[in-house]
Amino acid sequence: MDRMNRRGFLECMAWAGTGVVWTATGGILSSRVLPASAAAPAGGGSFSFVQVSDTHVGFKGEANKDATVTLQQVVAKINALPTPPAFVIHTGDLTHGQKAGAFDTVTEVLKGVKTDNVLYVPGEHDVFVDGGKEFLGRYAKGGPGWQSFDYKGVHFVGLVNVLKYKGEHIGALGAEQITWLKQDLAGLSSSTPVVVYAHVPLWAVYPAWGWVTEDSQQAMALLTRFGSVTVLNGHIHQVLQKVEGNVTFHTAMSTAFPQPAPGTAPGPGPMKIPEEQARPMLGLREVRYTVGTAPLAVVDSTLA
């Protein structure tokens, strides 16, 4: 790379909140600003989907008096997109601490999205009270929560990295899930685009604040052979991105409250700023796939 060092990369990534499309080919970033009315390129097999994350329904704090209201605003924004998403992926922390009624609210509000399906992986706030019983019963038919499906030739994998597997703490995938992943990917050709989604970042964003998955290397090793891998995470309530060969990692904004950039505050908790200051730091993401191109285009947009 020429003069783009890591800090410059991260500063550039901060612009992702203003409707800029970033694409990366061979590690080189290029961008173009989207006109507000741009629709996804026409072409058979192309589609888009939406990622929302960290909706924290039940949270009440300085940055947001009612997380349900901002979630409803995000749903309105999704329904205003020029191209309806094929489905919505929620990368976890649906609720704030499994508060009574919160899962019901999330499910009901997201039913208002004009889309065919909503997929969920849990955040730690969704599982710590009961070891995942409520979440997995509601969204995984009581199964382990990891999942995969194919859509128009793209392979999607949802991973769970917030449950305690055999003594590990949150921020781990566990041996059983990694074994499952290996079998799940085994039959795919390396030209299949792969999208992986999980709550806690699958790269070491900031371990001191728990922004890391301790055994993610084992999972990523299974993905390096693919020509296009897009990793979508949540948990840190801000957009950060990283490119590693053919793998692009993207963390997402929350729809509820922002968290500080790594190391810029005494702790990772909710930023204590007024609502009007927090709103431009909340948002959603649209991901677009065009047949024959790689990587997938990621477009972040904010609530204000």
Binding site: G61, E124, H125, H169, P207, A208, W209, P268
Partner: protein, 126 residues
């Protein structure tokens, strides 16, 4: 003279009886007063720990056996107080909520937060 001489033993018995009654009353009202007098008096104490900026403050504490520790969450984020040996565990604590545990036995007690495993605290009980 004879009347006074005769009344002295009765008065003495009456005084003895009242003293016995008073003593019994004192013993009833303050149970264990006799046994307590045989060992040093240890006052019941409550020690506070704050949970702030996703840290336990102070992170390490030494207390005498019998101390009650009271953790109070000062963060908007939810935290728990969870022993790493499953000895004690709070529910999720919101801002302003507290959890107490009384440490009866000497030992070293390590605890964490279920939502934030990078948080760690230690109570040394002597």
């Amino acid at each position: 003279m004879k009347a006074i001489a005769r009344s002295k033993p009765r008065a003495r018995r009456a005084i003895l009886a009242s003293v016995a009654a008073l003593t019994a009353l004192v013993l009833l009202v303050t149970p264990g007063a006799v046994s307590r007098a045989q060992s040093p008096v240890s006052p019941v104490s409550v020690v506070s720990i704050d949970i702030k900026d996703s840290k336990f403050i102070p992170p390490a504490l030494t207390v005498p056996a019998g101390t009650t520790v009271r953790w109070t969450n000062q963060d908007e984020e939810t935290h728990t107080v969870t022993s790493t040996t499953n000895l004690f565990a709070s529910a999720g604590l919101d801002l302003g909520e507290a959890y107490t545990y009384t440490f009866a036995a000497p030992g070293v007690y390590v605890y964490t937060c279920d939502l934030h495993p990078f948080m760690q605290g230690t109570i040394v009980v002597k």
